[in-house]
């Protein structure tokens, strides 16, 4: 319990530090928002006046605390470009990104566990080698390329699924699901090749453990022993890899968002950067970084709950 509290304190500290770094980085970025807004012909006086209007002349720390206070109460500020609430801009896009990440991770696990296990158990046979090689080819395939081929095949040729776009769940659950299938599949395939490689190594390790031999000795078959005893032991270290993958997905889904014209966080971030809309950039980067930190924190906690040896030291 004490250990958990310490972790929690660290987590809170890292959230705070991340917010400070992000705020500092976006504020010290070259390219003054006031001159961007006024165009290249603006007089220095006009720019200075605009800076005062935007509140940019006040001390850094004051502006940071003001921003942080807003963020904590759910107000990410207003866009400097269109004057709209950043929270309202981000929220629906965060939802899209979260679905992508969630289903992308689940899908990649569903693919990677059986593929990696098969490749491990049959590693001395041709079929195991072929599966292993194929999943390695998957490593080299960029997600957008897989996405384009999926669109060509299932949307253009067969016309089973929409080629792109997004329908919110509350509008039509069926359409929502249909629009997510292709992008999630593209993400899953690419992520799965990374994870399956890891699963293969981990399963080979399990095959050589004493507890696996014991499981066989009491009457489990190979698959049964792996399912019952291997998976539990693998899941502990697999968690770390999946946690990292989720973090990658969160940011990496941006390309898939482009391919499938999904209104996710990544594409909005790109737009904000090209517009030099610092408040929106700050908001989105903060959400992404905090999400990654949160995932790491959850992985840490889950790690201790899964491994009974660590649990004892924790209590």
């Amino acid at each position: 319990m004490k250990r958990l509290l310490i972790r929690l304190a660290w987590f809170a500290g890292s959230l705070l530090l991340a917010s400070l770094l992000i705020f500092a980085a976006t504020n010290w970025l070259p390219g003054d928002i006031a001159s961007v807004l006024l165009g290249t012909n603006a007089t220095p006086e006009a720019v200075a006046a605009k800076r005062v209007e935007l509140g940019l002349d006040r001390p850094f720390l004051v502006r940071y605390l003001e921003w942080l206070g807003g963020v904590v109460s759910g107000d990410f500020g207003t866009s400097m470009i269109n004057g709209r609430s950043v929270t309202a801009t981000i929220a629906p896009r965060l939802e899209v990104s979260l679905w992508l990440v969630l289903f992308g991770t689940l899908g990649s696990l569903l693919l990677a566990l059986p593929v990696g296990t098969f490749a491990a158990v049959r590693r001395r046979h041709l079929d195991g080698f072929v599966v292993s090689a194929l999943s390695q080819i998957g490593l080299a395939v960029p997600a957008f390329w897989a996405g384009i081929w999926l669109v060509v095949l299932f949307a253009v040729r067969l016309q089973w699924l929409p080629a792109g776009g997004y329908v919110p769940y509350w509008e039509s659950p069926a359409q929502w699901a249909l629009h997510l299938i292709l992008p999630v599949t593209a993400l899953s395939i690419v992520q799965a090749s990374v994870i399956s490689r890891y699963v293969r190594t981990a399963v080979i390790d399990v095959l050589h453990t004493d507890y696996f031999r014991t499981a066989r000795a009491i009457g489990w078959g190979k698959v049964g022993a792996l399912w019952r005893h291997g998976l539990r032991n693998i899941s502990i270290s697999l968690l770390t890899v999946v946690g990292l993958q989720v973090a990658t997905l969160l940011v990496g889904a941006i390309i898939i968002e482009q391919v499938f014209a999904l209104p996710g966080l990544g594409s909005r971030l790109l737009l904000a950067v090209t517009q030099r809309d610092l408040v929106v950039v700050q908001g989105i980067v903060l959400v992404l970084v905090w999400a990654v930190l949160l995932i790491n924190f959850l992985v840490d906690v889950a790690y201790q709950m899964l491994d009974p040896r660590l649990k004892r030291e924790a209590t």
């Binding site: 001395r124 004493d210 014991t214 000795a217 009491i218 032991n233 491994d307």
Partner: protein, 251 residues
């Protein structure tokens, strides 16, 4: 005869790990197999259990209750393992699943061969039988929460829970300290009564505690066999003589 091994050979690639080994174990007999590491004694026991890696090439014959085990289909083998014969391994810390409570692991051994699931009561009874005084706590513990002796007792409970005809013990006391080793040998002596047993060890003194008859293996061959006292009194083979000399201090 419960177990008849005839001209058993095991080859890994170009290496011959076991070379034409033959021996037999009676219905309630305990046979010790002695040898240094690499002598082929563990490979022999794993060959009997059908648990060698798939790179192993096994030839010869292993008859268990008259049933040929060499070349037996995995599906049929699985029904025998943990049920008609069972195994006890050297290092109970790693031989038990570190992420699963001990009682559950024993219950699993029961459930695998019995349509009725492993009942909590049976698990605790079995733990009591191997000399555990607080079976409830031990059943609820993870392996790392138990002492080496408790872990090996749990391992033994797992091996005898389905009342097997044959128990293969592969260095069951090697990882334990002297006092615990003595207690575990006592438990084994008790639970192996009225069963056939193979007792594999590099330690002549330990084998003498439980086995009246012994075979000595070296580099995949049987170099000597006979009643253990006779072997110790008059070792016929060089290697055995060295083993006896080495063990002399403890005997």
């Amino acid at each position: 005869m419960k177990l008849v091994v005839d001209e058993l050979s095991v080859r890994f690639g170009d290496t011959l790990a076991v070379d034409k080994v033959s021996f037999a174990v009676g219905e309630t007999e305990r046979l010790g197999i002695i040898g240094a590491s690499g002598s082929g004694k563990s490979v022999t026991s794993l060959a009997i259990a059908g648990l060698l890696s798939e790179t192993a090439r096994v030839s010869g014959s292993i008859k268990f209750d008259g049933q040929e085990l060499v070349g037996l289909r995995e599906r049929d083998y699985r029904r025998l393992r943990g049920n008609r014969f069972s195994m006890i391994f050297q290092e109970p810390m790693t031989a038990l699943d570190p992420t699963m409570r001990v009682g559950l692991q024993i219950a699993e051994a029961i459930a695998l061969h019995d349509r009725r699931t492993g009942k909590r009561l049976t698990v605790e009874e079995e733990l009591q039988r191997v000399g555990i005084t607080d079976p409830g706590r031990v059943a609820d513990s993870f392996p790392h929460q138990l002492s080496g002796g408790q872990r090996q007792r749990a391992m033994i409970a797992m091996a005898i829970v389905n009342k097997p005809d044959l128990v293969i013990c592969d260095e069951p006391t090697t990882a334990l300290d002297m006092v615990v080793q003595r207690n575990i040998l006592h438990v084994l002596d008790d639970v192996l009564t009225d069963r056939a047993a193979l007792f594999i060890s590099h330690d002549l003194g330990v084998v003498r505690e439980v086995c009246p008859r012994v075979i000595v293996m070296q580099e995949g061959h049987i170099v000597e066999e006979g009643p253990i006292d006779a072997v110790i009194a008059a070792p016929a083979h060089d290697y055995t003589a060295r083993l006896v000399a080495a063990a002399r201090g403890e005997l």
